[in-house]
Every structure is written in structure tokens, then in C-alpha cells.
Subunit: 470 residues, 2 copies
């Protein structure tokens, strides 16, 4: 019993404390400890969602978020912490978000505007709804056929572990409003690009082609979209008249910023490891899954690597500003730092559920390192993927520099239940899965930051496609 008690006591001594004393704790042990007891990632995402909340790109709320992140990084001993400013065009959602079926079945529907939506004005607009079951049906509609009408665009998205049905359903949001506008529509409403059945619509950016005047564009929650579709079935051909009131505004140019900080390596002349996330969120949620968790994960991993002893290479954390409304921060960071080579870029921006697959863009060009990384994360349930890593929205610089990229693919089954909705709140984060993320990141970033040889660019691999905002 005494022996057991002593063992138990020994196990409870933090490896972090040991690390700070000796700087010689094995990376594997630090990662294993993160799996069991990391608190840093949680503290970051709890803190920013509680003390700041929503952080719409380019607004004073995002500024408070950046200030909060700067303070957190400084408190945790990051070096070279800064908020690097850039200019952007800023859109805000306004106060009125209403939809009302006027006839034949009068009732309110829950709607939220899409990013870049025009305003209906406070008095709203009323028009007949034309239903398109798919984006392809909208594309096929004749020119001019939507004059004076509101286009409604549906789709049939289901949850997928790899999130791939975002690409299947996403065009309804990404381009639907612009296509409808070009055919004369006075407004567009879509079935939310999401997979949950709560009355919390999924916002997100939309776009209008050059020369097409933006129109009001909103998203219904899935229950409201289903209700509207049932109305078409029950209306017996009577027109469905909808009053839509959305009052977003363009604020013109405002200043946003990229928050950066470093764990400085033993050889700062070596290209750094860039770990990224984004600090902004849509206005309607608190940005826990998207992307407070990602910032917590990458920052915690950087600190954990430091706990295992000062790394060879510098680890640079990039918490990009203004991702949601057009990758403003990612583009600005690349423009500002394009001449400072990075060794490798990786990003966390797909929630807080477990990582299940490791991918790189140097599987053949640096097969030893790829294999070493894949082997190191296998014990966390992460498989060795054959897809070519393309990186996320926040690491434009890695694509622009054509450098090494790693994707640590998270389980996306729940992601599109929460993405861009009011429901993106702290309670959705599963602490055990968040810790698995930190453990995997610690392991991967620790190996990368201690790699003496070049993590060579993917000269022999297919080039990564451009990434659009998430």
C-alpha cells in the first residue's frame, strides 16, 4: 500500500514542473501528459469566449479579442508578441434579421444575413419566393426569370467525418446569391449550409460577381427551411409571399490585425515552424469551435514543446485576424512576411473534436520525416493519410512560399452542427477531445521544431489548390 501510494504521488507530480527544472523531459512524455491533463487550451478558449465573446472581423469586438490574446500570450511567456495591423473592408450584420411568410400560411421564419448581404432597409421587402431544390437548378434558371422574385435555394447536406459535404452543399451559400442576383432576383434565402436541426441559422460569406449589384441574402435554419418547403407542398400552387428584413451595413475600411508570438528556438536563423488559427468569429456565436479552440490548441502545443526543452527552431504562433469575411489576415500576413521563409505551416481551424488523420505535402519528398511524424502520432489514434495536405485558410503564406504543409485532420462529424451559428459556444467543446488535439499537436510541432534538416518543399508533389474562407 505504501509503494502504491508513493507511485500515485509520483504520478501526480507535474511533468511540466520537472521540465521547467531540467528542460530535459522527453517530448513524448509531455504529449502524453497533455492528453491527460492539458488545461492551457481550455483556458484560452474559455477565456476568450467568456471575457470577449463574439469577435466580428474588423470591429471593436475583434480588437478586444486581439488585445485579450496578446495579453494571454505575454502572460504565458511567449516572446515577440505583437498585433500586426492591416486594413480591410468591413461588413457588419446590423440589427434587424426577420423573415415573415405573408401568405398563404402567415408565420415568422428564423433568418440571419450572410456576410456581404445587402440591406433590405428597415421596412423590408416583400416578394414571391421561387424554390430551387439545388444550386444546379438555380444555375439552370433562364436569364431574367427571377425578376422581382426572392430565390430560395435548398440542398441535402449530411454530416461527414471529413467535412467533405461542405463542398457539396456550400455553393448554395458561396455563390447562390450572386447567381440569383444576376437573373434578376431581389433577394436570396438559402437553407443553412449546416447539419443541425436547431433554429440557429448558419451564416458565412457569400459573393457577387464583378458587375452584379449585391442583393439581400439570408439563411434559414434547417427547421425553417423544411417548413418553407412543406408550405410549397401544401399551397396547391398559390404563391408563397415572403417579407424579408435584413439591415447589414458596410463600414468601409477599418483596421484589423494579426496576433503573433514566438517560442524562440536555439537557432533563430533557421526558418520557423508556423502554427496558425484565427482570432475573429462571426457575430452570432462566441467563436469557441471556430476558432477559439484552434488558437488554444496551437498555443498550448507551442508551450508544451517549450516544456520539453528549448526547441531548435522558433515556433511562431499566428492568430490571424478577419478570416471569416475574406482571409484578410492570412493574406496580409503573407504579404508582410513573404520574404521570411518558414519551414512548415500548419493550422487548427475545424473545431475541437479529435484528430484522426495525419497528412503532409512531403510524403514522397521527405518520406523519412513524414513516416517519423505519422509513427509518432499513431498512439493517439491518428492514421497516416495519403492525401496531399493543402493547409487551411490562415496559412496563405505556406502556399505562397510553396513550403511544407501538414494537416492534422479533425473529426468533422459535429462541425457543421455548430459552424457559423449562435450555438458555437464553449459548452460544445469536449475537454477530452480538446486534450487529444493538444497532445497530437505537441508531438508534431515538437518533432518539427527540433528537425535540423530542411523540411523540404514539396517539389515533387501536386501543388495545393487555393483555399476559400471557411
Amino acid at each position: 500500500m505504501v509503494a502504491l501510494a508513493a507511485l500515485s504521488l509520483a504520478a501526480s507530480v507535474s511533468l511540466v514542473s520537472v521540465a521547467q527544472a531540467t528542460s530535459q523531459v522527453p517530448l513524448e512524455a509531455v504529449a502524453d501528459q497533455a492528453l491527460e491533463q492539458d488545461e492551457r487550451a481550455w483556458d484560452f478558449v474559455e477565456g476568450i469566449t467568456t471575457e470577449v465573446g463574439p469577435r466580428q472581423a474588423g470591429t471593436e469586438a475583434e480588437k478586444r479579442g486581439r488585445d485579450w490574446a496578446v495579453a494571454w500570450l505575454e502572460k504565458h511567456g511567449f516572446e515577440n508578441v505583437a498585433d500586426e495591423p492591416f486594413e480591410m473592408d468591413t461588413w457588419v450584420p446590423g440589427d434587424l434579421h426577420k423573415a415573415q411568410v405573408i401568405s398563404p400560411f402567415p408565420q415568422p421564419l428564423v433568418v440571419q444575413p450572410l456576410g456581404k448581404s445587402a440591406s433590405t432597409g428597415p421596412n423590408g421587402i416583400t416578394a414571391e419566393v421561387v424554390k430551387f431544390d439545388t444550386h444546379a437548378d438555380l444555375v439552370a434558371a433562364p436569364a431574367g426569370s427571377l425578376a422581382g422574385k426572392i430565390a430560395y435555394i435548398s440542398h441535402s447536406m449530411t454530416p461527414t467525418q471529413d467535412g467533405s459535404q461542405y463542398g457539396f452543399a456550400g455553393p448554395a451559400r458561396w455563390t447562390g446569391a450572386g447567381i440569383a442576383a444576376s437573373k434578376g432576383a431581389v433577394a436570396t434565402v438559402i437553407k443553412s449550409v449546416g447539419t443541425d436541426w436547431h433554429r440557429n441559422p448558419h451564416t458565412g460569406g457569400t459573393s457577387f460577381p464583378e458587375g452584379v449589384e449585391p442583393i439581400p441574402a439570408g439563411a434559414f435554419s434547417l427547421p425553417d427551411a423544411a417548413n418553407l418547403e412543406r408550405m410549397f407542398e401544401r399551397a396547391g400552387g398559390q404563391p408563397i409571399m415572403l417579407k424579408l428584413t435584413l439591415t447589414p451595413k458596410n463600414l468601409g475600411t477599418t483596421t484589423s490585425g494579426n496576433v503573433v508570438g514566438e517560442i524562440v528556438g536555439r537557432d533563430p536563423s533557421l526558418p520557423p515552424v508556423l502554427v496558425a488559427c484565427h482570432i475573429d468569429s462571426w457575430w452570432n456565436g462566441t467563436g469557441a469551435f471556430d476558432d477559439g479552440a484552434g488558437c488554444g490548441i496551437v498555443a498550448a502545443a507551442a508551450l508544451n514543446v517549450r516544456d520539453a526543452g528549448q526547441p531548435l527552431r522558433t515556433i511562431r504562433v499566428l492568430m490571424a485576424g478577419a478570416e471569416e469575411t475574406g482571409l484578410w489576415g492570412s493574406k496580409a500576413y503573407s504579404a508582410a512576411h513573404i520574404d521570411e521563409p518558414i519551414a512548415v505551416g500548419l493550422e487548427s481551424d475545424f473545431g475541437a473534436d479529435r484528430i484522426w488523420r495525419f497528412e503532409s505535402n512531403f510524403r514522397s519528398s521527405n518520406s523519412d520525416l513524414h513516416a517519423k511524424l505519422a509513427s509518432a502520432v499513431a498512439r493517439f489514434g491518428v492514421s497516416n493519410g495519403t492525401a496531399v495536405a493543402t493547409g487551411g485558410a490562415d496559412i496563405n503564406i505556406a502556399r505562397d512560399q510553396k513550403t511544407a504543409i501538414i494537416d492534422l485532420q479533425q473529426d468533422g462529424t459535429r462541425y457543421f452542427d455548430l459552424h457559423h451559428t449562435p450555438d458555437d459556444t464553449l459548452d460544445k467543446i469536449d475537454k477530452a477531445q480538446l486534450r487529444q488535439n493538444v497532445a497530437v499537436w505537441t508531438q508534431v510541432v515538437g518533432i518539427l521544431a527540433n528537425e535540423a534538416d530542411p523540411i523540404q518543399p514539396p517539389a515533387t508533389e501536386p501543388s495545393a489548390p487555393a483555399i476559400m474562407e471557411q
Copy 2:
């Protein structure tokens, strides 16, 4: 193969058609068929949620709901269909429902007003929040101690199959605002009395004691309540200042009504079987679980019993008006019909999930009938409960007449995820479970409506307690 095909064809012939031809289909067969293929309950709840939507008590929307229900009952061949009017005091939620933490962590919180809440006026009120972890803590607060403050009342409700934690957590909503007002509070906000983690607050009625002036009273969603509670942990003693804007209105006296219809029995002189539900809903959802489903279930069961042959007793369907804001319809029905004895009363008003327990208030006083009913529903997975049935909110008349009562207890595990929220929509209804409800109701109502002997009152049983609104 020919024999099999013939069997398959025979199985697909509707028993309902046979019944209409012969009036001699066994009740059990009709109930079994309902389990597999009832469409009537679904048609009712789909229709009223799609073609009418929210039906706030005493408003024109509820009137459209009653008109819709009258038309549905007539279309399905009910007799003596009527909308029996009554007067009521009508409260409506108004347009502005906002809460904003002003300091130290400025951000919006999602709030909805409670029924009978006063208005803050369109400019809102700002005050410090005083947190009470439980209703008991609020009760214990000294007189006058809340002067100028906003009281926040929390609780720790969890899902329960029998719904019993509604009684545990409910006082935060039922009486919290009145208690806080009596101690000087300028407003009250509660953690929603609910069990889901979506940003859709649970409304519901609150009350103010005689002589206490109503104050504004709202409910936060659980994620928002948890966020506020974390702010208290992180504020280091700084006051949490909240701006609350709620603009409900009292419309004074308006007219509501009780929708009734009958399957007239072979001996109309016998006291009828009263099957009840309520037709109104809160403004924020479409009233699918609460209580469109209940009306669909009881109406479908009545029609199914008719399919098995004209019953001995009349089955009277009561779709009560204005339940949510004070059982106005239930009270009005009892007052109007107190001198017309009913044989037995039963109600469906707890969602659309499966029935798992049968209870009566005549287990000892008419043990043969109790046993017969319990035995008849056992094949649907319904157990024989020992609790004394007390009936639901809509059958005041059964309690006032001290007559027989049956409770067909539904599984409430999900009920308080949806109750009184925007998420109370058609998509939440599981068609298979809805059909199980119709099957059990068909079986029970069919036996009751063909019972020649008195379904005697519970002279020897404990009397049922008064019921408050749900």
C-alpha cells in the same frame, strides 16, 4: 410464390377500409395497424405547424389555429364540432428581446421574456446582476437586499424520463421573478428551465404575488447562463452590469376558444370519454411537441376507435385554448360543462415520444378495468404504474367532477430540450414513436368508449392535486 404474393397483398389492404365496410374490425387490429402506419396524427401536427405555426394564446394566430383545427375535425367526420369562446387576459411578448453585458466583459446574451413579464421599455434598463445558484438562495435573501439590482437565478436540471426534474428546477421560473420583485429587484433573468445546450431560451409563465408589481423577467439559454456564471468566476469581484431590453405587452381582455368535436356513441346518454390536448403554443416555436402532437394523437385515436365500429359511449375531443398562459381554456371548459358528467378524462400534452407507463386513479376502485387496460397496452411496451393518475392541465373538468382519470405517461427524456423553445418544430417528432402513442391511445380509448359499466370515480383513492400550467 403465388401464395406469398397473395398474403402480401392481403396485408396491404387497409383495415380502415375494411372497418368502414363492416364496422367489425377488432380494436386490437386497428391499434396494431396504427403502430405501423398511422398517418392522421402526423397529418394534424404537420398541418398545424406548417399552415399556422406559432399560436400564442388569445391572439389572432391562435384563432387561425382553432379555425384550422375545426376544419380538420370536420374534414375527418367528427360531429358537433365547435369553437366555444371564452374571455381571457392576453399577454404578448413584443418585439425587442435583448440582453447585453456592459462590463466587465461586454457581449450580447440570448434572452427571451417569460409570460407575464413587464416591459423594460424600448430603451432597456441597466443594473448590476446578483447571482443566486438556487431558488432557495433567492428565498433566503434579506428583504430589500435586491433594491436596484437584477436577480439572476440558476438551477441544475437534468433530463429525466418521467420529467420530474421540471418540479425540481421549475420554481426558478414559476415564482423567481415575483420573489425577486418583492425584495426590490428591478428585473429577473433565469437560466432556462430546460435541458438542452442550444441558444434558444425556454419561455413559460411566471407569476407575481398579490400586491407585487410585475417586473421584467427573462430567460437565458443554457449556454448564455453558463457564460454569465463563468463571468462571475472571472470578474474578480467586479460587478457584472447587464442591460436588459424586453418589450412585452398586456393586451387586456381578448377572446380565445376551446375546439371540440365528437365521435358520437351508440348511447349518447352515457357520460362521454373526454380526450384532451391544447391548441395554443408559445410564440417562439411552432408548437409541434407542445402540443400539436398531442392534438394529433387524441384525434387520431378517436378516429381509429370509430374505424373499429361505432363505440358505445361518445368520445369527445377537447383541444383547449390558451393553456400556456394560465389554463384559461381548461378552466372555461370546466365552468361551461361542469353539469355534464364525463366518464373519464385523459390528456396528451408531453410531446410525441413513446408511452411507457399506464396509470389510473381507479386502480383499486375499479381494479378489473384498470387491469384490463394495463393488460391491453402491455404489448406496446407500456408498464402498469402504481402512481395515482392526476391528469394534465387541460382536463380541469375531470378533477372538478372528481371523475376517473388516466395518464398515459410519455418518455420525457427529450421533452425539456424542446419545451417552450424556438426548437419546438415538426422535425423533432419521431414518426415511429408518434405512431406508438396513437396505438396505445386507440387501445385505451377504444376500451373505455365501449365500457358499459360506470368507470367509477376514485372514491377510495387519494384526491389529485391541483395542476399548474405547463
